[in-house]
Structures are given as structure tokens and as C-alpha cells.
Subunit: 737 residues, 2 copies
């Protein structure tokens, strides 16, 4: 569980609604924070100070302008001399100029250090998204019926990219790690999601337009209001600015009541109609349905795939020969009925998750293949760095684990494998960081959590969550189903163990404490070894002790005859325990969107009159690996093209023939826009050219070899550089014109 909702899980367990709500929205709102420093309330002091001092300076300058304005008016009223008035006006104008300059500085400060960057980010995104939608990488679903917010189709190239990403995921994780892949239904009965906590806690706070009934996410409205004030209204005082910032920083901590109070205090109304809003109330984000015809079996579309693995633990453990560790994996659709989806592919109502549940003995979290990733070095953003306002830095994975920054080897191993997975897909390693969860983001049972965050035009986006969730999930389903989901370590020889036995004498306790007897019994049984032995000693020496019973909130006197405490020797043949689970959880759609942005660039056409779009997908993910173009329309060339096409099909290389008479330059541009890495152009019946997309370089190879050359590079057996070295270069004027 918990990809895309890594935080709700903490919430679910903690059982405190307030915390849940905070954590959930902390997660959900992360992308919107992009223009703000990574961790708000510990931004570098210099920056915060500069903004605050600018606000103060602006307020002072404003007062000075007003005072001087009054002075000028007074001079005029007093009919002072023209030079005197002119001098005063000049001074006023100069003050106004100074004020305007401070305003500009403040504007820059509040919109982030890269004020212009934000603009070009927006323009970059627009160019990428236009290309993506025009070439059908994705399409708003049910477009002819005006679509549904938060639902998207992948068109042909997007679908091919997705299926390549999933095939590589399966190769990189399932096959290379011998994981047990399962495939469970999306329709899930209520009892399962009751046990996992989703039925009760998987909610967002919502407000309704009291007249039209339109729904909004309460925290989004408050956040938008604060951001708007801070960025657009430069006249607010430094104190007011600090208050708004405090609201933003603590937004995720606000209860429904506190959120409602703030909305009232600021007079926030419905964005579209300006009508008053209802009080905030929780809305469950699962799509509900009914299983079977009776209407008596509520069900939900699963909000994650992980539960399907947890409920199968017993069978999977048996399948694995009753041995730990092992990992199970699942790829599938998950559903989330967002209140008001935004941000295109990043926040959608239906998405593909790929999740791994790696089950380990909590007493041994080493990993046999850890040495294979130990020397990887990449951007990490540990908790401490976030708290002190520093930024992510390159750390050797082995160091992070040995220093205890990363909790254990297995967690470290998966962080390393996720890094390799993402960068091999084509994610830019400089825009990829592993951010550790802060203590208050994490569930109380979780040992450690790291998110793989990818930077795109929306900011840093959580794309993979990697969490050590301890035994929480298996315990929850054990409790609810009554089926023990445990593992056992068989001892080679029985072990003699000394066990502490606390035996409350219920009769005596009943006589002494009557209705409170149960509380006292439970408290006695809950003592740890040290407490029990101390009590035993005290009872033996004094005959009676004062004992604090938490559930009664007071001390009670315990006498010697009320409890027997002893140590007994037992032979044990095995150790039975609930395994810990380490869970890497991948939001495939988010990874693909970030991959689209990281792969996109534009370059001028040869004539220089237009910008051409290119996706620099590595062959591994490119939707089509190769195109085949007869240079001109001509039966001989077309026949050669068909022969090459047939060899490509035999070699399993996805490709396309384009025999239109369009200029070869236009045909190249068309396929560059789809990210096709290689083009074979037929300009003779003996040999042909192969063009590489990004360098636009071309080599000449024989017709017979063409398919194999492309296959060797797309399969990663050699690089384009190898090919460039081996084959004669082609420098005809026909290239890209």
C-alpha cells in the first residue's frame, strides 16, 4: 500500500484523525508546492529574512510616500514657492521610484528565486503537452462527450511507452529478483479495505458551494487563497505575510474544524460563484460499488494493489518453500475518486501502480545482493538536511546505509535498484532525488520511508515510495480475518529458553478491585521483564507495592497473593513471528509523465524558420524503434523497404514504413516528435543509411545488415558510437532537408 498515499498509511495506523488528514494532504498537495522551497518552515534564513525585510521596507516606504504626499499637499495649500514645491515633488517621485523598486524585489522574492524560470517552465510544459496531445501520447478520455476530469487514455505512442516501461519493470524487478508476481482483481469487498483502514480513513476534507452544490477540496481553497495573497498583494504587512505562511506550513495539520474556521475568518467563498461554503467534512476517495445483485455486499475499486498481496501472504510464503525473505509484486489499475483533479497525468482518478512487497525477518534485514548497489552515488535528501534548510546532495548509498541514514540494507538495496530503474528509463539523474520522510510524515510503526522524487515543470513529484512498513499490514489482516499471517524460523535443534510468566490471580484481584479487575489484570500482564522482576522483588521483600494502572489513571496496591511472577524454562522448536514488509511502490503514470518532460526538447529546423520537437527516449522505452523510408517514391526502393521491414519484424523490432512522398526532412521531423531513435532510409538497392535521432548522424550499411545493426543497438549489445566507428559515414545533402 501507500504509493500515492504513503502517508495515509501512517494515518491509518495512528488512529488519530487529525494526523491522518494532515499526512494525507501533505502528500497529495506536494506537487503544488513546487514554487516554494522544498521544506517550508525551514527555508534558508537569508531568504526568509530578505522577504521579511523587503515587506518592512515596503511598508516604511509606503508611509514615507504618504507622509511626503501630505507634505506636498500642505506646501501647495500654504502656497509655498514653486522651487520649494518642485523640490518636494521631486523627493516624492524619488520615494515612489524607490518603493516601486522594492515592490519588484519583493515580487521576485515571493515568486521564488527563479521568477523567470517559472515562466519558461510554463512555456516548456505547454510545448511538451501540445506535442504529447497532438501526437496522441495521451488523450483526455471520452473527449467526444467532453471528457471526464482526471481520466486519460494513452494513445498509440503513449501506450507503447507504457508497455515498454512495464516490460522493463518486470525484467528489472520481477525476473531479476525472482519475485512472485500476482494479479488480483480491482473489485474488492469492503471487509478487506476495512481491515486496511481505507474505509474509515481514506478521505479528503471537502466543502460545498451552499447554493450550487459544487464541491471543492477545503485545503486547496485555503492554500490558493494564501498563495494568492502572498504573491499578488504586496501591501500586506510583514506580520500578515508571516501568518499566511504559517497557515501554509501547517495546512496539513489542520482539523476539519480549524480548516473551517480559517475559511470563515478569511471570508473564502466558492471560486466560481463567490457563494458561501459549507463546513468542511470528510469525503472517502474510493469508488464505491455493490458486488452481486443483492445490494448487500458493498465493494470498492481498490485504491492500491498491495492489499491483494497481503491477503495472499500465507499461500505465497508456502509457495516460496516457507522461506524468508521473498518478494511479491503486482502491476495493475488503482482508483481514487479525487474531489477535483488537477495537473494532467499527475493527479488522476485511475492509474497504473506497480508494487513490490518484500517480506523479511525483522531481525535480519540484510540483502544478499546489497553489494551490487553499494557504490551507487546519487542525490539524497535525508531528514536532517530538510530540517536545516539544506538541499539534497550526492551521497554514496553504502555510506547512507552504514551511517544509519538509511535504516537497513534491504531498504538501501531497493533505493539503489529504483535509482537504476529510473535512470535507465531516461530520467535525468540530476532531477531525481531520494527524499526521506520527516518523522511526522511517517507512520509510528514505520522504520523508514524514502520517496523517489522527480523534478518536472510542476516541481518535485513523488513517483516511487520506498517504505519499511514493519509488520503493520500483515497484523491488520491477521486480526480482522483471524488467519495468522506469520512466518516461522525452525531451529536446527530445540532451544531451551527462559520465559517470564506473569500469572495474575483473578480471584484475589476480583475481590480487591471488583469492576476494575480487568484493567488491573491487563496492566499486570503488559509489564515488561524488568518491571515484572522489580515487582517480584518488591513483593517478596515488602509484601505489597503501589502499581500504576494506565487505563485507570491511578496507582493501586498489589499484594503478594494477587500475582505470581516466575521464570520458567521451555524448549522451543521454532520462532514464530510476523514478517516485516519493505514496500517499493511505483506510480507508473507519474514516472511516464516525468519521462516525457525529461525527454522533450526543441531544436531549430535546418532552414531555421521553425522549432522542431524531439523526444530523446532511449531505445528501451521508445514507442517505435525504427522507421523505414524509401528516399523517393519508387517501386525498387519500396521493395527494399519491405524486405528490411520483414527482417525487423523477424528481429522483433517495432517499426513503421513511411512511403509517402513527403520530403525526407519532414519525415525525420515527424518521427523525431515520436522519439523514434533510428531511421533507415533507402536510397539504393544495395545499401541504405541509418540515421540517429539526436545527433542526426548517418552511417551506410548494406540492406542485409540494416535490421541487425538496429537490433544490436536497441537491445543494448552495442552503442550508436560503436556503430559510428565501424560503418562508413553518410554526408549527403539529403539529410534532414
Amino acid at each position: 500500500m501507500r504509493f500515492l498515499i504513503p502517508l495515509i498509511s501512517s494515518s491509518i495506523t495512528s488512529g488519530h484523525y487529525r494526523i491522518i488528514s494532515r499526512l494525507l494532504s501533505a502528500h497529495l498537495t506536494k506537487p503544488q508546492r513546487s514554487t516554494l522551497p522544498p521544506f517550508f518552515n525551514c527555508q534558508p534564513p537569508s531568504m526568509a529574512a530578505s522577504e521579511e525585510s523587503l515587506r518592512k521596507a515596503l511598508a516604511e516606504k509606503q508611509s514615507a510616500v504618504e507622509a511626503h504626499g501630505n507634505a506636498v499637499r500642505a506646501l501647495k495649500a500654504a502656497k509655498a514657492s514653486k522651487p520649494e514645491i518642485d523640490a518636494a515633488i521631486e523627493a516624492l517621485n524619488s520615494l515612489k521610484l524607490e518603493k516601486s523598486s522594492i515592490e519588484k524585489q519583493l515580487q521576485a522574492a515571493v515568486s521564488g528565486s527563479d521568477g523567470d524560470g517559472a515562466l519558461s517552465r510554463e512555456a516548456f510544459r505547454q510545448a511538451a503537452v501540445n506535442t504529447l496531445e497532438r501526437r496522441l501520447f495521451y488523450i483526455p478520455s471520452f473527449k467526444i462527450y467532453r471528457g471526464v476530469a482526471g481520466l486519460y487514455d494513452y494513445g498509440p505512442p503513449g501506450c507503447a511507452v507504457k508497455s515498454n516501461v512495464l516490460a522493463f519493470w518486470r525484467q528489472h524487478f520481477v525476473l531479476e529478483e525472482n519475485m512472485l508476481e500476482v494479479d488480483c482483481p480491482c473489485v474488492t469487498p469492503e471487509v478487506v479495505l476495512k481491515a486496511s483502514g481505507h474505509v474509515d480513513k481514506f478521505t479528503d476534507l471537502m466543502v460545498k458551494d451552499e447554493k450550487t452544490g459544487t464541491c471543492y477540496r477545503a485545503d486547496h481553497l485555503l492554500k490558493d487563497f494564501c498563495n494568492e495573497m502572498l504573491q499578488k498583494d504586496l501591501t500586506i504587512s510583514a506580520e500578515k505575510a508571516a501568518e499566511l505562511k504559517h497557515v501554509l506550513a501547517t495546512l496539513d495539520d489542520l482539523s476539519a474544524e480549524a480548516l473551517g474556521a480559517k475559511i470563515k475568518e478569511y471570508g473564502i467563498t466558492a471560486s466560481d460563484t463567490k457563494n458561501p461554503l459549507s463546513d468542511p467534512y470528510p469525503f472517502n476517495l474510493m469508488f464505491q460499488t455493490s458486488i452481486g445483485p443483492s445490494g448487500l455486499s458493498p465493494g470498492y475499486m481498490r485504491p492500491e494493489t498491495a492489499q491483494g498481496i497481503f491477503v495472499n501472504f500465507k499461500d505465497l510464503y508456502y509457495y516460496n518453500g516457507n522461506k524468508l525473505p521473498f518478494a511479491a509484486a503486482q502491476i495493475g489499475q488503482a482508483f481514487r475518486n479525487e474531489i477535483s483533479p488537477r495537473q494532467g497525468l499527475l493527479r488522476v482518478r485511475e492509474f497504473t501502480l506497480a508494487e513490490i512487497e518484500h517480506f523479511v525477518d525483522p531481525e535480519d534485514k540484510s540483502h544478499p545482493k546489497y553489494s551490487e548497489v553499494v557504490d551507487l552515488e546519487f542525490l539524497m535528501f535525508p531528514r536532517e538536511e530538510q530540517m536545516c534548510g539544506q538541499s539534497a546532495k550526492k551521497i554514496r548509498l553504502g555510506d547512507a546505509v552504514s551511517k544509519g541514514t538509511v535504516n537497513n540494507e534491504t531498504l538501501g538495496y531497493f533505493i539503489g535498484r529504483v535509482y537504476l530503474f529510473l535512470t535507465r528509463l531516461g530520467i535525468d539523474k540530476d532531477r531525481l532525488r531520494f527524499r526521506q520522510h520527516l518523522a511526522n510524515e511517517m507512520a509510528h510503526y514505520a522504520a523508514d520511508c524514502w520517496d523517489a522524487e522527480i523534478e518536472c515543470s510542476y516541481g518535485w513529484i513523488e513517483c516511487v515510495g520506498i517504505a519499511d512498513r514493519s509488520a503493520y499490514d500483515l497484523r491488520a489482516h491477521s486480526d480482522k480475518s483471524g488467519v495468522p499471517l506469520v512466518a516461522a524460523e525452525k531451529f536446527s535443534e530445540p532451544r531451551e529458553v527462559e520465559k517470564l510468566v506473569i500469572a495474575p490471580v483473578k480471584k484475589e484481584l476480583g475481590l480487591a478491585f471488583k469492576g476494575s479487575q480487568k484493567n488491573v489484570v491487563e496492566a499486570l500482564e503488559a509489564m515488561n521483564e524488568k518491571e515484572a522482576l522489580e515487582m517480584k522483588a518488591a513483593l517478596e521483600s515488602k509484601g505489597e507495592v503501589e502499581f500504576y494502572v494506565c487505563s485507570l489513571g491511578k496507582n493501586v496496591p498489589i499484594k503478594k497473593n494477587m500475582v505470581s511472577i516466575s521464570k520458567e524454562k521451555k524448549k522451543e522448536h521454532q520462532r514464530v513471528f510476523t514478517p516485516s514488509v519493505i514496500e517499493p511502490s511505483f506510480g507508473i503514470g507519474r514516472i511516464i509523465y516525468c519521462l516525457f518532460e525529461h525527454s522533450f526538447y526543441t531544436r531549430p529546423s535546418k532552414a531555421g524558420d521553425e522549432q522542431l520537437n524531439v523526444f530523446r527516449f532511449p531505445p528501451l522505452v521508445a514507442p517505435i524503434k525504427c522507421t523505414v523510408f524509401p528516399l523517393v517514391q519508387n517501386q525498387q526502393y519500396e521493395d527494399v523497404a519491405k524486405v528490411i521491414s520483414k527482417s525487423l519484424t523477424t528481429a522483433g523490432i517495432s517499426h513503421k514504413i513511411d512511403i509517402t512522398g513527403t520530403s525526407i526532412g519532414k519525415r525525420y521531423a515527424r518521427t523525431d516528435e515520436l522519439g523514434v531513435p533510428f531511421a533507415i532510409t533507402v536510397d539504393s538497392t544495395k545499401d541504405v543509411t541509418i540515421r540517429e535521432r539526436d545527433s542526426k548522424l548517418q552511417v551506410r550499411v548494406s540492406v542485409e545488415e540494416a535490421a541487425l545493426v538496429v537490433k544490436s543497438v536497441t537491445d543494448g549489445l552495442r552503442t550508436w558510437e560503436d556503430v559510428w566507428e565501424k560503418y562508413p559515414h553518410h554526408t549527403s545533402g539529403s539529410a534532414d532537408d
Copy 2:
């Protein structure tokens, strides 16, 4: 649309509820029919006659037994002589024996010619299903919570088989045919499924236990009742038997009222409680939900993936360069809230579909690659053969198309491709037939429909539907959305065409027909060319004609001034038309289940003391391609095994190492049960053995070559026979002991 519900589509269009219901259940109930002849009311006369004559003979014998019994009693009462009485008793006993013999024959006749076959089919299924569930090919979902009917998980080997089947589907169809693959959400807004007809017509008839509320499929109850009577009660008269058979044969034609009447007539009660039942009423089989928080946007989990393709037609046509033909494809989950699922993996509430929509010009249904399949020969079951009680026979595909049995080349091409797909997966070609839909099974708009049916222990199961659906689906969405989903053929030169223009003169018609004017106008405009020209001639000669207006149900007099009919010449630059769609639709889960059964067999262990289970999966679909076994536990052998494992990983061959000390024979048996085709056994550090699963033959190859030999066979570059010929044979006693 329409895989697994190929027949509802006809229904949806016909608009007659009765027909819909019949067709839907005709489809849905097909598997249960397995023990009956393929087409009920035209079974070979000899068989039907024999059953009927047996019933008559039995009734006669029963009367004779009764008469003789009375005679014996009369003799006893009359105190006849002992020899006389003994002779009469002997005659009675001999009559009873004859009766019992007829009973046995009748029993055999009603349970099908293979009465024993049915039993062994059941036993075979039980053995296969036990192995499948024990080895986690599939698992009832949410088992620890006692499961949900009709929901199954694929465990590790099942999941691997499924992903191999889907990968091959993508290779065989999408890549080889350059199809445009899309990936649309499961959550679908109501408007889309309203247009497709599912909201109104995708129903089954249901009855409720009037006291407990338990729901049953009405037709299932009636069918079970009739089958039970026919098979278990041998005393029913030949007339009664004929009546029950007639009910079974026409079951799918029964309206809700007729079904209800039959249930009352036969006194059928709830199976579990014997409580009375409600009248039958339609239950929509879609899982309903609500999109967004308002509760005002109903949505459904899609019952098929096809609609996602149809609504994207315009974009896909543009993506394909505005050219026909092209095919779009989609693999994804579909949902169906079955009233009471039965038959394991064959009738489930959530399943994976793979659908192709091939769009063609209705005036040209040729296919460029048709010649590649024209010589295929396989079992086909054309409409005529079904109607005359004959069985499926081998037909050359080219002949079926050229004789017009298969409507057109493109449909024929896909039938051939489906045949190749299924047989390459490992479906037994002798238990695969292509059955043509009968005229009354098909939608009125459909040109032709064929189902690929696979025979398994449940009978002949429809696994792929291949239908020429004409322009129905695109027109339905054009009408509902207002967005024209059409294609255009541009003429190289404008063409002069003569067009018939029918112009009703509304003013005159209004004066003459008042409120009925609209009906008359529509009827006039709907005339075909021949009718219109006849009317024109008649009006010119007689000045007035009688004209039948369908919607008024009567003739009206049309005068010359009421309509102008003329032929006009126009220049046209293009022909705009709604493409036809040819739709192959694959039920992946059903194909996989049949594949499991076709691959399963048992063979005695070497000691002969037990039956071992084997799946003879071809390498293409085998969940794991290879195992690596050190013969005995030994560090050197384990190291070699690890080296080989690494080469297998590099070669992309899924495999497993088993270093347990279990006997090699047991380890082979364990992997035979998973259908692993090859085992590499390490019994030296220089060379190793490779064992083939079905022949159990072994060759010796060097450690370096081992992975490559396995790869070459699993990739289909050579056969096991090639390997057997090339490498030295291994005949150690260790094999399989």
C-alpha cells in the same frame, strides 16, 4: 465490443427486449450445454429417436411389470399351484430385468453418448484444478475472508502465463499488423454506455427468494430443473421429456413473463430454501459507481474495452494519416456483475479482454495479407452444418471465403490469424473450432460472426468472437455525441454523380395530413431509388398514388404537388462514409483456462506408485523456461549453477535455481507440475545435462553453452529435436529417479 457478450450487441441494436434476453443468455449459458449435442433442436434423428423409443419401451415395460405383478398377486390370492406361481414370478423377474436394462440404456442416452466420458471428464478436471490451485496458478480472491464468488487471483505461475500470453498477443497482432494500441480507463461515464446500449439492455433476468432475498438467474433455475428431470427421473413420459427438451431448446427465447409462467407451472422454488420465488425481472450486469464527489455523475466499470476505441475513432483515423483500413487494439480489465457466477475461471466478475477494432471501407473488405492465411485448414462449423445436425469439419480457409461461407477476406484473414495465435499458444487444434453464428444469434446489422470455440471439460467454450459489425458502433456514438465519426475517400478528380433528390412539399402535405404530416414526410424521404422513381412515374401518369406510411400503419393518397422527385447531377470531391468495423475480441482468462486443460496430463512415477502431473506448455507460454539444479548439495556445483543462472538472466530467460537436497526426481516432478520445459542439472564443473520435460530425454552440454542452448530453443530458433541430434545423450540412472 461483444466478446463474452457478442450476442448482447445484436440485442442492443435490435431493440427488442425479448430477443436481447434470449441472445444474451444463449451466449452466457453456452458452457452448461456441454453434455448436449451442439445444436439442440437439430440433433441427429437417430439419437433423438433412440431416446424417445427407449422412453416408450420403458413405459411399456413398466406397465407390463405392473400387470404381471397384479397377475402374480391374483394367482397367490386364488391359491394357484406352486409351479404356476413360480412360473409367473420368473416371468415377472425377467420383465424386471428387461426394464432395468432399458433404464440403463436410457440413462446412458440422456447423459450423452459418452456417459462414462462425462465422468472421466469430471475426474480429469478435478485433477487439473487441484494442481492449478495447489501450485497457485490461480487462487480464489480474498480467500482469508472466505472469498467472493467470481473473483480470482493469478498466483505466480498463472500470472507469468498470463503475461506471456499477452506479450505474444501484442507481438502477433499489434506489432505484426501495425495496430494502434490504446489504453483507456475502466471507469466510464454513463453517457458512453447509454450510447452503446449497455445501460438499457445489458441485463439478465433474475428471481429472488421471497423470504431470504437470495438472487438467482431465472433461466438457470428453469434449465437446472429441466435437466434434472430429464436425467434423473426416468419414469417421465416421452411426451413430458419432449416438452422439457423444447423448453431447454427455446429457453433463450423466453420473455420475463413466459419464464415466470414456466417457473410457476413447474413449481420451481429457491434451490437452497425451497421458498417461493419472485417474478423474473431484469438486472443490469454493470458495476455501478459515482464519479466525483457530487453524486450527480453516475459511472460504470466498463463491461468491455471496445467503447474506448470507438469514442477515439476520429483521433486514431487522423493519427493513421486519414487512411483506411487500420486497426486499433486494447488490452484491459472488463467487469460484469454476474448474478451467480459458476464454472471457475470461465465465468467471472472481472476479466481481461484483448480487443481489436479493424476499420474498413464497407465497399472494400479485401486484406493485403490475406494470401498468408488462405491455405490454412482447420475445423469450421458453418451455419448450414449446425442447422442440419452435422458436426464441424476441416475446411480450407480460402475455400470458405471464396464460397461465401465466410463473408469477406478481412474477416477470413482474422479467423486465420486467431487460429495461428491459439494453436501457437498450445491449444489443441482438434479441440478448436470456428462456429458461425446462426441468423437468429446475430445482430441485424452484422454481416457475419464466428466464434473460436475451444473444447474443455465444460464443453465447447467461446473464447474469441470475430464479428463484422458493420457501421453500428460508430453510428451510435456519432448520433449520441453529435461528433461525426466518419472517413472520407478523396477522389483524384472530382466525380460527376447523379443523385436522387426527394423534396416533400411540406405546405401541401401539412394541409392534407395535418398532425400526420411529419410521418408522411419521413416516409417519403426514406424511399429507396426504385420506389421513388416508380412514384415519380405514377404521379406523372396518374397524378395521384396510394402510399403506405409505416408509422401510421395505413395508405395515404399522395398527389403530384405534394412531392418533387428529380435526379440532379453534382460534382463530388470525396465520398464520406461511416467505416465498417471487424472485431476480434479475446477472453484472455477463458483462453488461459482452456490452455491449462489442454496442457495438463498425468504419467506414472518411475516407481509406478503414483501419478505425476505435467503441464506441456510450449516454451512461449511456460511460466518459467528453465530450472537449474545442482545434482547434490555441494559448493562447487552450486557455484556452477550460479554462473549458469547469471547467463540465463543475461539472456532474458526466466528460470529458478533449486539447491535443496531433495532427490533430483522429486525436483523434476515439482517443476513438471509448473510446466517448466527444461532443466539444467549440474553434476560436474565442466558440463551439465539438459532435460526436456515431456520426453524426459537428456543431453550433455558444456557449462558455457547451457544457457544459449536453452535460449535458442525457447526463442524458437531451433527445436529440441535439433538439440537432441547435435549433443551427446545422457543416460545416467539419476534421471527422474
